[in-house]
Subunit: 453 residues, 2 copies
């Protein structure tokens, strides 16, 4: 079932057509927040007023939840339409991390107006979260976590959590801190409810927690949460004081966004601020044109390589027939090696330390692949051209497949060492490099074996 | 910090060298289960006995947890080394889904022996979970979920959860079922602890739950959990009876594995059963050779296309110079469109319904890209060859970039319609198709404009 089937949203459409707030609210109550957000995005693209009417018909806490799921572009549009007081209400009810993301979308005047209408607690939160660099743990963490103090009993910890629960992103895991808010350990709600009421939290808490600092990259945060199956990862400042948590659902979003970015990079598509579906033609153009033009200039070298061997080619025009399959094979083998390497590095499976071992294994594999494919082209060469040309294409095939694979292994590693994203070693880039090298190797071997006629 | 730095594991190495079980247990207690599993995998590769000694030194519940994190290959090795009774103990303590995965690794004799030594509850669980098809919700779900019955009070529900908690994968969300185990709703532990003890769970439970069936594909399960920010997704049978749950941590693993598989497919790397790092050279060879050979045959057509236009090429040998950059640009533009489309489909951002709109947008973007690049090659053509050739290459560039993009949009969509994985429309496949078409278009235009000399 697609969530955007009009049938699925039919009751909501009808209620909105009727224009009665009660009917709208009743219809809306049977949908999830994520679905309502989708609905607002899609109807809003045609008719802002409908999206706004739906949002305003929802109960206050639901408004904030739905608003948090809406894509940035539509959030910006709604921010202009919603009355100032109502917007402040929604923003106050949003989770701290979503609030900070939304705040960063607004222009200076809007930020100023919104800031004035918030309570001091939310203001401080905003200022703190907004101060961290984009893409770090600090920027994606939330300050809505549950804490209990060292020395509390289970009963008082439970009662504290019961009273503060509705405000917190997750209370399933409470953090135990000392007087200076230094992180000592964690205690799960599960542990609290099965323990004796009089026991001290200190005796029950788990120590040796996995945690990280505010400047850790968000990919690493997602990796830690996934690796250790955490509900949330505590984030500490330089003095090891607890300042926030990143929850598993945000980690899932980060992991998905990172995988998308890496796949796009793998095909030389630059960063898109919105999804492929909602991106404007111009932003798609911009994200694609840069590398296409760079690669055109790369391919001039391939053309120049061919031009350089014009004499050999003229003398043995049959060589041209084999050129595409030889250079393409080098590129394809290179793309395979590079992709295995890049994804291995992105998931944390492969570290720099492993590279020597993996290169050795790759050379073995590529030799096997090169020999298999040399056999195939030798048969074609014998059938289609001459034994001499069959020999040239076989030798070239082994050489270029090996070369392509080694380039594919080497390039992501070098980019990483030079502090670039390894995913920049995209398939088209590898193919272009393989094209140039492949043409030079092929015609050099051909000239050596066959002469100039 | 890399978790496999020898410094990080130094205390554990030393304790294992000493051979004292107490020392080993003390040293092990300061590591996470996931880290201990890594340690066992890496030392185990050289010295099985060390890994085994470490595992056996751990407390019973910790043994099962660490064992669940170990990669399949090493699990198989350990299964042969651990005494039968001890193995049954570990397997009994494992979570139901990990137990089923492990069971499926064993050969028939081992399965039989293990099965005999399990209690009847675990046997039934195993049989049920093992009966679902690989890659479906049924195969990744666990039967360790918490249920309360319709009609219970908050106090009795809490007491039930308190008593059953240690056995359950997660008690943060309890499912409310009727007498025939039909799923009615869910109640969070958070809601239970903040509600009046005498209230009925029915009045507090959330209804309109997101759930799915046992035969839903695991990618879709992961997508639902991520979309709705769920801790767990309930799985029901054909009679809407609750039979299991999939938890967020398993969904993260599925999403990561699916992204890896899609990226590998994007570079024509076939399915690997283990990670790139631990895969044997032969399994890497096997996963790569198939498409490389298929693409060699695809490229024969490109070669044949060039051979067909031999006369035109001989008459205007300068045309060869521009061939690589024209066909490469078609392939690169195609790879961009295909990757945007494939990833959009994989994340659920793009549905079949959107395709017409996206194709229209892509044609607009590709025309812009083609014109930009035509301008670049026209300059090169004027500088390097003649106005006539500059015209040929410019017209060709616009045509092939547009063609490449449309192929890139069309192919994933067609594959999906034909029930293949859209990710099969890999960059190398697109490049090969673009090569053939690009050569034919280029030399056809050239022959039409320039004649045969």
């Amino acid at each position: 079932m697609s969530f955007l089937d009009s049938e699925f949203f039919q009751p909501l459409y009808e209620a909105l057509e009727s224009g009665h707030p009660d009917e709208i609210q009743t219809a809306a109550s049977s949908y999830n927040a994520a679905d309502l957000a989708d609905f607002i995005e899609y109807t809003g693209a045609e008719d802002d007023a409908k999206g706004l009417a739906l949002l305003q018909s929802l109960p206050a806490d639901q408004q904030a939840k739905v608003f948090g799921y809406i894509e940035p572009d539509m959030q910006k549009i709604l921010a202009r339409l919603i009355p100032k007081g109502a917007l402040a209400g929604i923003v106050t009810d949003m989770s701290a991390d979503e609030r900070a993301d939304f705040f960063n979308l607004l222009d200076e005047n809007q930020q100023h107006a919104l800031f004035q209408s918030l309570a001091s607690r939310e203001r401080e939160d905003l200022l703190r979260l907004a101060s961290f660099e984009e893409g770090t743990a600090g920027a994606i963490m939330t300050s809505d976590y549950a804490v209990v103090s060292s020395g509390m009993t289970v009963a008082s910890a439970l009662s504290l959590l019961r009273n503060t629960a509705p405000d917190k992103e997750t209370i399933y895991q409470a953090y135990v801190v000392d007087k200076s808010h230094k992180l000592l350990g964690a205690i799960s709600l599960r542990n609290l409810i099965i323990s004796a009421p009089g026991a001290l939290v200190d005796s029950l808490m788990a120590t040796g927690l996995v945690f990280t600092r505010t400047d850790t990259e968000q990919e690493e945060v997602a990796r830690l949460i996934s690796r250790y199956d955490l509900l949330a990862l505590p984030i500490v400042d330089d003095d090891e004081r607890l300042v926030g948590i990143v929850t598993y659902d945000d980690a899932m979003d980060v992991a998905e966004a990172e995988a998308t970015e890496d796949m796009h990079k793998g095909a030389t598509v630059g960063r898109l601020d919105t999804s492929f579906k909602t991106a404007s033609p111009f932003s798609l153009y911009r994200s694609r044109v840069q590398w296409l033009v760079i690669l055109v200039f790369g391919n001039i070298f391939t053309g120049a390589g061919i031009a350089y061997f014009e004499q050999t080619i003229s003398a043995h025009i049959a060589l041209l027939f084999f050129m595409p399959l030889l250079v393409a094979s080098a590129g394809n083998a290179g793309a395979q090696s590079a992709t295995l390497m890049i994804r291995g590095m992105a998931t944390g499976d492969v570290t720099t330390r492993d590279w020597g071992m993996l290169l050795g294994k790759d050379i073995l594999v590529a030799t096997g692949l090169g020999l298999t494919m040399a056999l195939a082209v030798m048969v074609i060469g014998l059938f289609r051209a001459s034994p001499a040309i069959a020999m040239v294409v076989s030798i070239t095939m082994v050489t270029v497949v090996l070369m392509g694979s080694v380039i594919g292994m080497l390039l992501p590693f070098l980019l990483d060492k030079l502090k670039f994203d390894p995913a920049t070693a995209s398939t088209p880039l590898i193919t272009t490099i393989a094209d140039v090298s492949g043409v030079l190797i092929y015609f050099s071997i051909a000239t050596a074996v066959l002469g100039l006629g």
